[in-house]
């Protein structure tokens, strides 16, 4: 039988792939996770874990643990949001014509509501049984950035945040489809001003440059075409909901990436989803979010391939990432810098902090460089090394200092006793935490590996048994900033 060369090549490629696949399977760790590996998985996919979270995973293998985490992904938050999110949003345009003092009162109230929203999200991150859900919400928030500063009212940002769970943990294509009708995005990027007779390119530009393809993968003409396709997509001035105005929509033929048609916004999204670069761009960012490093090309291609071949479903995409060797390599523990949110939420979760009412936590993350719902610009927070500057590092140290001196969180009043009088912090947070550790985990070595991803770089305070000072020195060690 004559075999064509091309057929032979195909067969060889197939067999080779099969062998590689089975090798991967063989090398997958099937034994139960040791504590450091469990800890690493939890901090990388969530926030600093409580002891029970680590112990829970230690009965499973690496692959099983990942399935547990993926299975726990949620489509909705667990903490009830402030009541006002369900009311119709205020009419910002109408307020522009209001007299000065009314305007000022309005601004003040919206600022206060903004703080409430930020505080709500932080509480969700602390309370949630699925930290991975919130990490995905944060990932999408950073990628599809919109900001409160420009929108002036927090209501649309709550709705957008819902999308980051509802679709963001399920299907990335559905998320993008939902976002081109999302009032927060449309207003933030001026698309409500994008009309047939006077196209506004802002949304179209960011859609291509920052949300899907990245710089260098489109022409200016593609932006112009996408802007025309998105014309008329705006919001209803009264209800704040999405509204398509056909009269303002450019119904002509547009040429986008060499394809011709009377495209509207939805068509543009489908074209972008069909473009191979989108899944790659998103995969590059996902890798960076969870590893703090730049992905090698083959990993990006593999992740993108998984994303596309599963029709943009999120769980297989995450599974693929978490099963990659770099993700669980012990040599790469502690090579990623925690974001301000992870740092603050991690402290709150792992030390079971009593949360103060009000925006103390939200102010803390802002102080450290991450104001939730208010990224610095549409590119989001750059992350990585940029989280640490002279200023932010000192602020992190200061926060820990306040924590260990019994002040729980900055600007928080001391916990009131049942008699209503303010008590001194006789039992500080760290004393309580130490007292709560089971005896088998109370050695200095155990506490160190519970709190840090790597051995500390500072010489340790030498005491016979672990004290508050010892724990404090671990938290102040530079290694505590890493996961």
């Amino acid at each position: 039988m004559q075999v064509q060369l091309s057929e032979l090549i195909l067969v060889v490629a197939f067999v080779r792939r099969l062998i590689l696949l089975s090798l991967c399977f063989v090398y997958l760790p099937v034994q139960a996770l040791e504590a450091p590996a469990a800890r690493h998985l939890l901090t990388r996919t969530g926030f600093e874990p409580r002891l029970v979270e680590i112990e829970d995973l230690q009965n499973s293998s690496h692959a099983e643990s990942i399935e547990k985490l993926l299975h726990g992904l949620r489509k909705q938050p667990t903490v009830e949001p402030p009541a006002w999110v369900h009311a119709p949003p205020p009419n910002v345009r109408a307020m522009r014509k209001a007299p000065g003092n009314e305007k000022e009162a309005f601004r003040k109230r919206q600022r206060a509501l903004g703080w409430e929203l930020k505080s709500w999200w932080l509480r969700e991150m602390i309370a949630t049984p699925s930290p991975l859900t919130e990490r995905m919400a944060l990932f999408w928030h950073n990628h599809f950035a919109s900001s409160l500063r420009k929108l002036k009212i927090p209501h649309p940002l709550y709705r957008q945040n819902e999308l980051f769970r509802k679709h963001g943990t399920q299907n990335a294509a559905d998320l993008l489809r939902a976002l081109i009708r999302d009032p927060a995005v449309l207003v933030y990027l001026d698309n409500h001003r994008n009309v047939k007779r006077a196209p506004n390119e802002n949304f179209a530009r960011e859609l291509l440059e920052l949300f899907t393809l990245g710089e260098g993968h489109y022409q200016e003409s593609d932006i112009k075409a996408a802007a025309r396709a998105m014309s008329g997509y705006g919001i209803d001035k009264v209800s704040g909901k999405f509204k398509f105005r056909a009269k303002r929509h450019d119904n002509g033929v547009k040429v986008l990436f060499g394809q011709s048609g009377n495209f509207d916004g939805e068509a543009v999204v489908e074209i972008l989803l069909a473009h191979p670069r989108t899944a790659e761009f998103w995969s590059e960012k996902l890798w960076f979010e969870f590893t703090g490093s730049v992905a090698p090309r083959q990993r990006v291609r593999a992740l993108a391939q998984t994303l596309r071949s599963n029709n943009y479903a999120v769980a297989p995409w995450l599974r693929s990432l978490f099963l990659m060797p770099e993700f669980s390599d012990p040599a790469l523990y502690g090579t990623r810098i925690k974001s301000p949110t992870e740092f603050v939420v991690g402290l709150a979760r792992s030390f079971n902090l009593q949360l103060p009412p009000g925006p103390a936590l939200a102010r803390a993350t802002r102080r450290l460089g991450q104001d939730l719902f208010d990224p610095p610009n549409v590119r989001g927070w750059p992350g990585g090394h940029s989280w640490i500057s002279a200023d932010s590092l000192l602020a992190r140290q200061q926060l820990i200092g306040r924590l260990t001196r019994g002040k729980e969180m900055p600007m928080m009043a001391m916990a009131k006793s049942k008699r209503g009088r303010t008590r001194g912090a006789s039992a500080t947070v760290l004393q309580r935490w130490l007292a709560g550790l089971p005896p088998r985990l109370s050695s200095r070595a155990q506490i160190t590996s519970l709190l840090l991803p790597l051995a500390p770089v500072e010489a340790q305070v030498s005491t016979a048994s672990p004290t508050v000072r010892f724990v404090e020195s671990l938290l102040l060690d530079p290694v505590y900033q890493l996961n």
Binding site: G334, H385, L393
Partner: protein
């Protein structure tokens, strides 16, 4: 492992810094980079008031002739920059027109990257152009700090893995925290940890200089109302660092809000008011302290804006724009050519001076650094500084 507290280090350095300096050697020079973040509308900043095409391009938002501070028979400044008139008359203000580059990019992030790294439109460089200049010369040899970044916490032109750079909200806040840190000297095991340790190390050695400068300027008068604005506060901090002897070669300050796609008139006026007021107060402070000759302030921005106004009373991203250079040694006047309003590039102004020449002029004329340190520039510089 060698440890000492910052307080001990400051005590060691403080004595020397506080004794009066014998004026034998020339005082160190500082460059202040003033980022106009968002893309400043150059056409309404340096206004070609005498050109009839101007008000045809901008029927609603053109600056009226009687609101323009005439610099010569053709161009003038937006009226809100009135506080800078004194500096113009004293010859301390240079206006460099038509700054841009070939194949200009109109994305905020890409274009500011190009300006920050002095790259070509299709090159992707990592280091800030100031970082290159400082690294290739011995300018920062006698300093403890290469650069201080105030305002927008974005290093831009001073960005580099190796620069001794401090990003701070204010010297006071920075010092309040630095005092609690313990100095560490250890090797890094990974780049994230290495970065953490390097930042700590920077904090430690810089803080001593900054503390000394703050102590030396506790009685410095900074009560001008213009110092209350965001930019004013940054320049006040810069003044204290310079006059107090911190010896920081480069200080970056920034003013944000220039991305005026809609309702430009009021916003732009307000920004230029802040700009003019803060710069004027700063110049006065430095003149009083007899340090005005040791400082240059140079503005820059990611791009100018389109020649036509848009349908929302604003302007969209454009290309060429003018920038301002101020200082005691500046040779005041107009430089470059006013971009033509008739020959546009798809609605955009054509640049007349490559911004790399602007940088090269600063590097050569201010610090005597060869323009070769800035890639792709001609040997001839603009002659802005004497």
């Amino acid at each position: 492992m060698h440890r000492r507290t910052l307080l001990q280090a400051i005590a060691a350095a403080g004595g020397a810094a506080l004794t009066p300096v014998a004026r034998a050697a020339p005082l160190p020079r500082t460059l202040i980079l003033l980022e106009l973040n968002g893309g400043n509308d150059g056409l309404n900043t340096v206004v070609p008031y005498a050109d009839p095409a101007y008000s045809v391009l901008r029927p609603k938002i053109a600056i009226k002739r009687d609101q323009v501070l005439q610099l010569d028979d053709h161009v003038g400044l937006h009226g809100a920059l009135e506080p800078l008139q004194k500096l113009w008359r004293a010859g301390d203000l240079a206006v460099v027109q038509g700054l841009g580059y070939p194949r200009a990019n109109r994305s905020h992030f890409r274009s500011i990257e190009i300006w920050d790294t002095a790259s070509d439109a299709d090159e992707y460089l990592q280091q800030g152009w100031i970082a290159n200049v400082l690294a290739s010369s011995g300018i920062a040899r006698d300093s403890d700090i290469d650069a201080v970044v105030l305002g927008r916490a974005y290093p831009g032109p001073v960005a580099s893995a190796d620069m001794r750079m401090i990003l701070m909200r204010s010297p006071k806040q920075f010092l309040r925290r630095a005092k609690r840190m313990v100095e560490l000297q250890s090797q890094s095991r990974n780049s994230a940890l290495g970065h953490l340790l390097k930042v700590r190390s920077n904090v430690f050695s810089s803080a001593a200089s900054i503390e000394a400068a703050m102590q030396a300027t506790t009685n410095l008068v900074l009560d001008a109302p213009s110092y209350d604005s965001n930019l004013g506060k940054q320049l006040a901090s810069a003044a204290r660092l310079i006059i107090g002897g911190a010896n920081v070669p480069a200080i970056k300050v920034s003013l944000t809000g220039f991305d005026t796609h809609a309702g430009q008139a009021g916003k732009h006026r307000s920004l230029l008011t802040e700009l003019g007021g803060a710069l004027s107060a700063f110049a006065q402070t430095l003149q009083l302290a007899q340090r005005w000759d040791d400082v240059i302030v140079a503005t820059y921005s990611e791009f100018g804006r389109r020649a036509h106004e848009n349908g929302s009373g604003g302007t969209d991203h454009g290309t060429a724009a003018p920038h301002l250079v101020l200082g005691g040694r500046v040779r005041g006047g107009l430089y470059g050519q006013t971009p033509s309003l008739r020959t546009l590039d798809g609605g955009d102004l054509r640049y007349t001076v490559d911004f790399r020449n602007y940088y090269a002029s600063i590097a050569r004329e201010w610090w005597n650094v060869s323009p070769a340190a800035i890639r792709g520039t001609s040997a001839k510089t603009l002659g802005i500084i004497s």
